[in-house]
């Protein structure tokens, strides 16, 4: 069985807020001094894959697929050290100048997956930790014409049957489908395991395949279907604090209510 986990490299979302500089003209977010990391939901997806592999380590192969203008081996190394078997990177200079929207990303991933050979299951995070669009998995399933299950908190494979527990706002839903399929994994499945020292050493020997877009049969990046109209930093409301000087709770409450009403808040 082969599982492909699509993983994205993003600026560390835990980085200081001041380090994310918005370039209004180019409509880009320029992270300054923030190390890249694996997108957290993609880590959850990898953990789901590794749990399937844990049950049958000899027969399950986990491949990592990542695209980007420069995919860092150091960042992806964590995925290999955690237990993935190989890394496939699609890097291309065209990624430097073109914006990849969800459709373009899914198209490139689909081509890369076809190029990578047979697969049984594709796992992706429920959304990326930078743009949070949450669409790539669904579009990818449309392109590959396979079922897609979203918001997974548990993934189990039995023969060619896939059972997925989904997190809903009012409870848990269990669905069943057939392989091959795509599952979009949510954080409820649990965090990616710690890469152990031994696997860390072995990870250095694992195969890394590097492609550009012509290697996967594309001549150019598919045009974006979403046009970004404006990107800007929202203005922070001034943090003026007004102290109510009345000395009883009743008086203070009455005055607060009047002020909120005057501001149109209530």
């Amino acid at each position: 069985m082969r599982i492909i986990v699509c993983m994205k490299q993003v600026p560390d979302p835990e980085g200081p807020r001041e380090s994310f500089v918005v370039n209004n003209e180019e409509m880009r977010v320029v992270p300054q001094g923030i190390p890249p990391v694996l997108s957290l939901f993609d880590e959850n997806a990898l953990e789901a894959a590794l749990r399937i592999k844990d049950k049958n380590p000899q027969d399950v192969k986990v491949s990592i697929l990542s695209i980007g203008k420069r995919v860092s081996n150091a960042v992806m190394f964590k995925a290999l050290a955690a237990g993935a078997d190989e890394l496939i990177k699609v890097e291309d200079s065209q990624f430097m100048t073109s914006r990849l929207d969800s459709f373009a990303t899914a198209t490139i991933l689909a081509k890369a997956i076809e190029n990578a050979g047979d697969f049984d299951l594709i796992l992706v995070g429920r959304q990326a930790a930078d743009w949070n669009a949450g669409q790539v998995g669904i579009i990818l399933s449309g392109i590959l014409n396979i079922p897609c299950v979203t918001l997974a908190q548990g993934v189990d494979v039995n023969g060619s049957t896939l059972t997925v527990e989904r997190v809903l706002s009012n409870g848990i839903e269990t669905v069943r489908t057939h392989l091959p399929a795509i599952v979009m994994v949510s954080n409820e499945i649990g965090e990616l395991r710690y890469p152990a020292m031994k696997e860390r050493r072995e990870a250095k020997k694992k195969p890394v395949t590097e492609w550009n877009i012509s290697d996967i049969g594309l001549s150019r990046i598919p045009p974006a279907r979403i046009k970004l109209k404006r990107l800007f930093t929202p203005e922070m409301a001034a943090g003026n604090c007004l102290y109510l000087t009345d000395t009883t709770l009743e008086d203070a409450g009455r005055k607060l209510a009047l002020l909120l009403k005057a501001d149109g808040m209530i």
Binding site: G15, P16, R17, E18, G33, I34, P35, A74, F77, K78, A81, E191, R193, Y194, P195, A196, M197, K198, R200, R201
Partner: protein, 413 residues
């Protein structure tokens, strides 16, 4: 903290390899998730949670048995060039909890004299590795020469009384000594490392499995800090050891001191990194004089700068020492008189800087620094305990005299 703590210390980047950074990042992830996020819970049930957190660190990541050769079942970080890696790991552990860092520092110190190349002893590694490559938590205790008692003439190691004796007959050795005070972990150690004197009153190092017959552990000692490490005085009563468990290599005891100073420096620097994050967050929220942020008051800002300065100096000294260990061709190996002296000097200086940084932090944070909830006072108690343990009889004096002997050829001190 608004800034990435990795970007705050200026040093030659070649000092820290990519592999070291990756492993340190992994340990940091553990620290954030398993310890820092649960600090309040720790106050309720430290022992239980501590044990759970330690297991993840020891087994999931692999910090127990890290320095044992791969052939013996360890993870093979047993080259001198791994010294910067070891302190990076200890820093990241201790950023969250210096007690856990201390336990690992003792383990790595003891392994340094028989597991690390070029002094690696495959036979000894093969014998002792099973203790540490299993899936149960193990600790190592270190007994150094120390105080003597008035009226008793002991064999001396650089002025310190060596109160454990080893006798050798045929292929067996016999270890004896009473009321010996380990640096730590005496109450539960799976392995004791004891600097003892032989028949010629020369120092040698005995490795004693914790289940050997003839070992008596006294009551657990209540102490200032390092709650994760239970210590107790030890009696050895004719404890029999195979000959290979006694390391008679010239200056092995000096190596132990050098490594201990380096690795405990890593622990205290790590604790200070945690302090820096805490005080940075706190000073960015605290309002004084009714309107100003504390960090924007010049007097307080100057204190904050002092805190950073002490930590940055300690950071640099520690990494500098680690790199001298990693490159023995440059200044000599850890047993050389110069490295022995310098490691003690820098080790002491790092502890001083660390305790000063924490003291100054507490000055600013006042009662919030003193309350258990703030997380600072635990670091303060832990680092002070390390500092005192690292001192010989009479505080800083023995280490200063060691330096004077090496640098100024002082003969009779």
């Amino acid at each position: 903290m608004k800034k990435d703590i990795n970007q705050l210390f200026v040093y030659p980047k070649s000092w820290v390899s990519t592999e070291t950074k990756e492993i340190a990042a992994s340990v940091r992830q553990w620290a954030n998730k398993e310890v820092i996020a649960k600090r309040i819970d720790y106050q309720e049930d430290y022992k239980k949670l501590f044990s759970e957190a330690r297991k993840k660190l020891a087994f999931d990541i692999g910090c127990q048995g890290l320095m044992l050769p791969e052939d013996s079942g360890g993870f093979g970080f047993n080259r001198l060039t791994d010294a910067p890696l070891l302190i990076s790991i200890l820093k990241e552990i201790s950023r969250a909890d210096a007690g856990i860092g201390f336990v690992h520092a003792l383990e790595y110190t003891v392994f340094s004299i028989f597991a690390i190349e070029p002094v690696m002893n495959p036979e000894l590694c093969g014998k002792l590795a099973p203790l540490f490559c299993s899936k149960t938590l193990k600790t190592v205790s270190l007994i150094l020469p120390g105080f003597g008692k008035k009226g008793i003439d002991d064999p001396l190691f650089e002025g310190r009384s060596v109160r454990a004796r080893i006798q050798t007959a045929d292929e067996k050795c016999m270890l004896s000594g009473r009321d010996l005070r380990p640096i730590g972990c005496g109450a539960d150690a799976a392995l004791f490392c004891v600097i003892c004197s032989d028949a010629n009153e020369q120092p040698c190092v005995a490795l004693v499995p914790g289940d050997s017959a003839g070992i008596t552990r006294h009551e657990t000692i209540r102490k200032t800090g390092l709650d994760g490490c239970d210590n107790a005085d030890i009696d050895f009563e004719n404890v029999q050891l195979p000959k290979e468990n006694v390391i008679t290599r010239n200056r092995a005891a000096y190596e132990l001191y050098a490594w201990l100073n380096l690795l405990l420096a890593g622990v205290s620097v790590g604790a200070c990194m945690g302090i820096l994050e805490i005080v940075s967050a706190w000073s960015g929220k605290r309002i004084i004089k009714g309107k100003n942020l504390l960090k924007d008051n010049p007097l307080c800002a100057a204190v904050l700068a002092d805190v950073y300065e002490e930590i940055a100096i300690a950071w640099l000294l520690t990494h500098n020492l680690a790199n001298s260990f990693a490159n023995p061709g440059e200044w000599g190996n850890s047993s050389s008189p110069l490295i022995f002296s310098v490691s003690q000097m820098l080790g002491r200086r790092v502890q001083e800087s660390a305790i000063r940084a924490i003291n100054r932090t507490m000055e600013l944070m006042a009662s919030e620094g003193y309350a258990t909830e703030g997380g600072v006072e635990k670091m303060w108690r832990d680092v002070k305990t390390i500092q005192s343990c690292l001192c010989g009889p009479g505080g800083e004096v023995p280490t200063k005299l060691d330096v004077a002997k090496c640098i100024f050829d002082s003969q009779t001190i």
